[in-house]
Symmetry: C2
Subunit: 297 residues, 2 copies
């Protein structure tokens, strides 16, 4: 940890959207010398990123873009991770570090093992926990990661020095960096992120499929609005996350079904004391969490 | 509908909290002559309401408070509805209208049938759909009901003229008044309000009960925050609502469990197209709803 941070000179970002763009802006704030090359499938969004000063150049040729790159960040939709890793693998310098920002980690590690060969030790799986309400380079902002969690999930293969470099990069962007295994990561996020998304999608789909859906939605109010906000998220992204974290999610869904069955039993039994106890445990936990989060800010 | 609105001179409100207090403020805006008497178990909160100019007098004696009252509004916690109806029944004038603001209606009608006797036709069950994030008279504001839905659920027993008076009162407070049966009301709100609350309570309780709850909550982010906001609601209130609307809620929970079982099958089958189709239906319905709601505002 006392090792001096090797200054970053060149960063290559695949996918300059909210996450990739905000990382570039955050790093440029503290590393004025940093050159950021943006790469991606959408020329329009790269041009936007360039116009906004988020990137310094638009990469069109992989070997040229990767030459002398210190770190390559893959911030494109997760379904593109494997093809991008395969495309860059033959052109990676021996010191270049590769990292990602995907919401699931075991699958990304499998993709890296499949694609990177000798460069595998320089791949550092990462997941910044920061808002997905907006998207696109135009929404990028230097403060997005300030005091937000970022999880690194290195494996036994990963070079500790590469982990250290990626940690320092995200700390420079303001994030609180933590390390855990990919399995731990995927199980935690199945519970606190992926499960709630699937529950919200399922509720809205179920209600929308009814003959009186229009009337139901007409009377939905602010509780419904907040509960279902995440059901407005990108279907493609959540298809990919669901499949990538399938096993952990199935475990979570099963545990949740059991919790609902227990709750239904309390209702069937007219067990007011049992219902109140459950609601009290939940509201205390929710309100304590919200307070702690507010204090941490 | 062309009948002139009989001007309100005296309103009695049992429970001067957010809802009762906001109704008083909204009506005083357009009826400067209106005298509002507040009644309730908490002398402190009645004093606050009086200090804030929400009520004109604090009622201590039921016969005296009810004399010449045009409308009595029961805005206390729903568990008090039956005792309040029983307490006021012997002292109601033949022209006095009684109405309530409870989140469930079939149970309130049963209570009225049990308590009101000859005054039953002058009881108009009502439910204003307005924010429960805050509570107490200090949070009351005249605009709370502006452009919000209000549902009346009169029965075959209810005097149409009493319904008309209560409709006019709520329209004067800015609400959009609709009528339906109590059964329709309770089934709609089981789906769009009570079910989401129970789902959020169940999720938070299930996660909070795990050995690694601290770690889970540490990584919960903005999606979790919004999804679980309603799990911070009053346990007593939701115990009462759950029991009052038990049958409809059990139907909803069963339908939701089936939807989750279908979703789990898609995951088990690695059915990416099926998952994406479900998420697309949900996100379109959610985003269309949010847009329509924004336009209506």
């Amino acid at each position: 940890l006392n090792k001096p941070f090797q200054p970053l000179n060149k960063l290559v970002i695949f996918g300059v959207g909210l996450i990739g763009g905000s990382l570039a802006l955050a790093l440029k704030r503290v590393m004025p010398q940093l050159h950021v090359t943006g790469m991606g499938r959408s020329g329009d969004s790269l041009q936007t990123a360039s116009d906004l000063g988020i990137i310094d150049s638009i990469g069109t040729d992989i070997p040229f873009a990767l030459a002398d790159a210190d770190i390559v960040v893959i911030a494109a939709p997760v379904a593109q991770t494997l093809p991008i890793l395969q495309a860059i693998a033959p052109h990676l310098g021996s010191r270049t570090i590769v990292t990602d920002v995907g919401s699931t980690k075991s699958d990304v590690i499998r993709a890296a093992e499949q694609a990177l060969g000798a460069n595998l030790p320089r791949f550092v799986p990462a997941h910044p926990i920061a808002g997905a309400e907006q998207s696109g380079a135009a929404a990028a902002r230097a403060e997005l990661f300030q005091d937000k969690n970022l999880v690194l999930t290195p494996t036994a293969d990963t070079d500790p020095e590469a982990v250290q470099q990626v940690r320092r990069m995200w700390e420079a962007a303001g994030a609180r960096v933590q390390e855990m295994t990919a399995a731990q990561h995927d199980s935690i996020f199945a519970a606190v992120s992926h499960l709630p998304h699937l529950l919200a999608f399922a509720l809205v789909d179920e209600l929308a499929s009814r003959p009186n859906a229009g009337q139901l939605f007409d009377f939905a109010a602010s509780g419904f609005r907040d509960f279902t906000r995440i059901a407005g998220s990108s279907p493609e992204m959540w298809r990919d996350i669901s499949l990538a974290n399938r096993e952990a999610l199935l475990d979570e869904l099963q545990a949740y079904q059991q919790a609902l069955t227990d709750l239904m039993r309390l209702l069937q039994d007219n067990d007011g004391a049992g219902l109140q106890a459950l609601f009290e445990r939940a509201s205390q936990a929710r309100n304590n969490w919200a307070r702690a989060r507010e204090i941490k800010k």
